[in-house]
């Protein structure tokens, strides 16, 4: 387990995968905040105005955290934030499933015909949560801005 957490290449690959994915999925939400707000409101947890505020902030948080993870900057903080978001979203999906809501996820695309919630979506989210937590607990900072800054600080 310890070797997995300190494996430079595995951490780098995971960073690239998770970081790129969050950067890509954030773009459509940023471009269409109203559509994303509608997706959030469809969960019947928040009112539309609250969903709209969330739709204004969350995609940018995904973008910032995604970029940080990709470049290895504030890796622990950004992976913890993303883990929190994915966990909350997974709970929202489970809650919607329990209430029998027939809605789309709004996770990867705002196309209302794609990505209905279901067991597969929960498994997908849990996998993403595991990867984010893996990055949080990883000990490798090679190939990262964090590592570069730390090396520079030690040289002084």
């Amino acid at each position: 387990m310890k070797s997995l957490l300190s494996n430079d290449y595995l951490v780098l690959l995971t960073r690239i995968f998770v970081g790129l994915m969050f950067v890509v999925v954030s773009i459509e939400k940023i471009v269409e905040p109203a559509a994303f707000a509608q997706s959030i409101a469809n969960y019947n947890i928040f009112s539309f105005p609250v969903s709209l505020v969330l739709a204004t902030i969350v995609p940018w948080l995904e973008l910032v955290c995604g970029l940080c993870i990709l470049f290895g900057l504030f890796l622990r903080g950004s992976s913890l934030l993303l883990s929190g978001m994915v966990a909350v979203f997974t709970i929202a999906v489970l809650s919607a499933l329990a209430r029998g809501l027939d809605i789309t996820c709004g996770c990867f695309t705002q196309d209302p015909t794609v990505g209905k919630i279901g067991g597969a979506r929960v498994i997908q989210n849990l996998s993403l949560l595991a990867l984010s937590l893996y990055l949080y607990f990883s000990t490798s900072d090679r190939f990262s801005v964090d590592g570069h800054l730390r090396a520079k600080a030690l040289q002084r």
């Binding site: 269409e32 109203a34 505020v53 940018w60 705002q110 209302p112």
Partner: protein, 148 residues
């Protein structure tokens, strides 16, 4: 990071008049001297009267799969997210045609945002049936669709 994302989100939305700064948070205004052509909300009875008279287009702004399950009889489906893509359909309507827009019910706001877009595009006779599909269905008014 959280602060940076919040700041970026609000600055971007304010600059492009989207999200919280878009039209959807502004409640539809009643007709007034300052905005005589703004969309107005109508209750179920008025929506039913328009339907019975047959002189209004009903637009369902919900997702396509919800529309397929059931909708107000004769309504056409243009989800909010497809407003731009299906604008050619709207362009066939006379600008002064009576248009009734609805979505799921009071918990959805896409009808409000959709009607704001219609008004911005020059449609002068837009109504929002805010009770939407749920109210219509509960009242057992004419519907069509594949059912659940």
């Amino acid at each position: 990071m959280l602060l940076a994302a919040t700041a970026l989100g609000f600055v971007y939305s304010a600059a492009l008049q989207k999200g919280v700064f878009g039209p959807s948070l502004s409640p539809p205004k009643a007709r007034s001297a300052s905005s005589p052509l703004a969309p107005v909300m109508i209750p179920l009875d008025t929506a039913r009267a328009y339907f019975s008279a047959g002189d209004a287009f009903f637009i369902d702004t919900r997702h396509e799969f919800e529309y397929r399950l059931g909708h107000i009889r004769g309504a056409i489906n243009i989800p909010l997210t497809e407003y731009g893509a299906k604008k050619d359909i709207l362009d066939t309507f006379p600008k002064d045609k009576l248009i009734v827009v609805y979505c799921d019910g009071t918990e959805c706001n896409s009808s409000i945002e959709f009607s704001a877009k219609l008004s911005a595009d020059g449609f002068t006779n837009v109504r929002i049936f805010f009770g939407g599909w749920r109210e219509w269905e509960v009242a057992h008014l004419p519907t069509e669709g594949s059912g659940r």
